[in-house]
């Protein structure tokens, strides 16, 4: 089989396979990879296009316009409009993320099992560990090399040491990084071992069919069984894929429930329990040039407050996005842009407790989400700690990115009020959401969950869900590898096997 570009599909296209998969991100690519290794005929339908390394643009505008859903400008509806970022290209977010790889934290797994004992049988810890080992080997996951970590990482290490916080180089799925700082726009050198290259390409070579630039609109259900998918290609043609064995949804924690809801497949808490990691950022200005755009996009992290639901990371954006985050307007802003080489942005990913929901209203997908007061307290704490780290690392001034506070905080004393009596609204913070979970939750109770511990839909036979929407909660860490480990177990279930590797 091969790769059909949706742009070239101008007429009706029908095909028949064993397993039809929606989405080619970490979950969909893993399922395709593992099922083709078992000799099954697989088709993967992806809404976005295939990109070669040479296609990835230098800066943000072109990247956001082409490779992010809604130009990266989807926003939640709730107490504050918070942007949530979704990719739209083959490989999902993998080609355009920070390449951060975390094994599933044991404490999070234990929380899941404490909620529902059946998960211990459906998702045995040793199976997750074994699949994770295999995935890390396949993606060549390793510590970010010191040579490409950049000054921003050295300064974060300095700040964390001063505060006595545990920190480390970020483990990433990158081989031979040159430190171009362009992970979020896609690596132009092809050094990121993203899932499109590491898993989907081998699956295609083994016979999988990839249909790109094709938006799936229908899950075909006959007599209570999922039998295929139907969508519309960018070229205007209608695509129908019949599946003799199973249909697997792996389109993300937003798109998967949206697809179910728009098809009237509402059984169980579809779209409920939306969880995520709101990220809040702050900036520090240093006397020396730190050239934030140089070095690995995200090469260092502070893990010492993970037990509080806070994980700090170095950040890297294209210059356009970076400049827009500098404070002020007018001439003062222009002056800051001119000296942008002196500014550094760090971010904190918050393990928020809030739960939202995904709905389809008037044909549009809407995410309702409002952080809780305790989440906002975590935002305040995260900003304060970032500011303290900036000062400890030698920053002259800090912009906490908090509305109502000075853009030029000059000491930890000026920062402290943010944590103690800062804003109680998410609208006051510079925030964005990545990493979404829970909207088709897994569990043994068919009323309280959408899929069973075998990833099979409770109500529709031969329908499986394999992405982070099945996660019972958020993780507090970057989920790519955990998604892939669970998707590997899902693939085994689709193939009629047990969960163990």
């Amino acid at each position: 089989m091969t790769h059909l570009r949706g742009e070239d599909i101008t007429r009706e296209h029908d095909c028949r396979v064993d397993v039809a998969i929606v989405g080619s991100g970490p979950a969909g690519s893993t399922v395709a990879h593992d099922l083709t290794r078992r000799g099954l005929r697989v088709a993967v339908i992806e809404a976005g296009p295939w990109r070669e390394p040479g296609d990835f643009p230098l800066d943000t505008f072109e990247s956001m316009g082409r490779d992010y859903r809604d130009m990266g400008a989807s926003v939640t509806v709730g107490s504050a409009p918070i942007p949530y970022v979704q990719a739209k290209l083959v490989g999902g977010a993998s080609p355009i993320n920070g390449a951060i790889c975390w094994r599933m934290p044991r404490d999070v797994y234990d929380e899941w099992v404490a909620r529902d004992r059946a998960l211990a049988e459906g998702l045995p810890w040793e199976a997750i560990e074994a699949h994770t080992d295999a995935i890390e080997a396949l993606l060549d996951v390793r510590d970010t090399d010191a040579e490409v970590r950049g000054r921003k990482a050295e300064l974060m290490a300095l700040g964390a040491d001063a505060l006595g916080l545990r920190h480390r180089p970020i483990r990433r799925n990158v081989t031979g990084c040159e430190g171009l700082g362009r992970c979020m726009q896609g690596c132009p050198k092809g050094r990121k071992n993203s899932v499109d290259r590491a898993l989907l390409q081998p699956a295609i070579e083994r016979g999988a069919l990839l249909i790109s630039s094709t938006e799936v609109a229908e899950v075909l259900v006959e007599r209570g069984r999922a039998v295929g998918l139907r969508g519309k290609a960018a070229g205007g043609g209608r695509v129908t894929v019949r599946a003799d064995r199973a249909v697997v949804l792996a389109a993300s924690a937003v798109q998967t429930p949206a697809l179910l809801l728009s098809n009237g497949l509402r059984g169980g808490p579809v779209g409920e329990h939306f969880q995520c990691h709101p990220g809040v950022s702050a900036a520090g200005r240093f006397r020396e040039p730190v050239r934030m755009w140089e070095g690995a996009t995200q090469g260092h992290e502070v893990t010492g407050l993970r037990h509080e639901g806070l994980k700090f990371e170095t950040l890297g954006f294209g210059l356009g996005l970076l400049a827009s985050r500098l404070p002020g307007t007018g001439r003062a802003f222009a002056d800051r842009v001119a000296e942008m080489a002196h500014w550094l942005d760090w971010g904190v990913a918050v393990r928020a407790e809030a739960e939202g929901r995904v709905r389809v209203l008037g044909g549009r997908t809407v995410v309702f989400y409002s952080p809780t007061p305790r989440d906002i307290a975590r935002f305040r704490r995260g900003v304060r700690v970032m500011g303290d780290m900036f000062f400890a690392a030698g920053a002259e001034t800090v912009d906490a990115g908090v509305r109502g506070f000075s853009h030029d905080l000059r000491s930890p004393l000026e920062l402290a009020p943010i944590e103690r009596g800062g804003p109680t609204s998410a609208a006051a913070f510079t925030a964005a959401i990545t990493h979404m979970f829970g909207t088709c939750r897994m569990g043994s109770d068919a009323e309280a969950s959408v899929v069973g511990t075998d990833f099979a839909h409770h109500r529709i036979a031969r329908l499986y869900i394999a992405d982070s929407s099945v996660f019972p909660s958020n993780l507090g860490v970057n989920p790519q590898v955990s998604i892939m480990a669970l998707a590997a177990i899902a693939a085994a279930r689709v193939a009629g096997e047990g969960p163990r590797a």
Binding site: G65, M71, G330
Partner: protein, 95 residues
């Protein structure tokens, strides 16, 4: 900013940007440039550079208008750094 290739940028912005971003941008333009300016007894087009700057700065501190100024800033920055000349100022000449 004057030498940026605005027509090329806007043409692609119309293709890439979702409806709510395009609407938000127009609303920001209208609310700040017309409504807010009028409330302060001014017309944006008749303000000198310093007057425009003060208007936008004040709007940025306003609870409701502040996020709209952020949208304007974002789009202006994306347009500015969409230009290879602006990139080269910071990154150096392309290899």
């Amino acid at each position: 900013m004057e030498s940026i290739a605005w027509p090329s940028f806007w043409a692609r912005f119309e293709v890439y940007a979702p409806w709510h971003l395009r609407a938000g941008l127009r609303a920001a333009d209208l609310l700040i440039g017309v409504v807010y300016a009028s409330l302060r007894g001014a017309r944006m087009l008749r303000l000198d550079a310093a007057g425009c700057e003060r208007l936008v700065e004040d709007a940025s501190k306003h609870a409701l208008l502040g996020p709209l100024v952020d949208i304007l800033k974002l789009v202006a920055c994306l347009a500015y750094f969409d230009d290879a000349r602006a990139q080269s100022v910071f990154r150096g000449a392309p290899a």
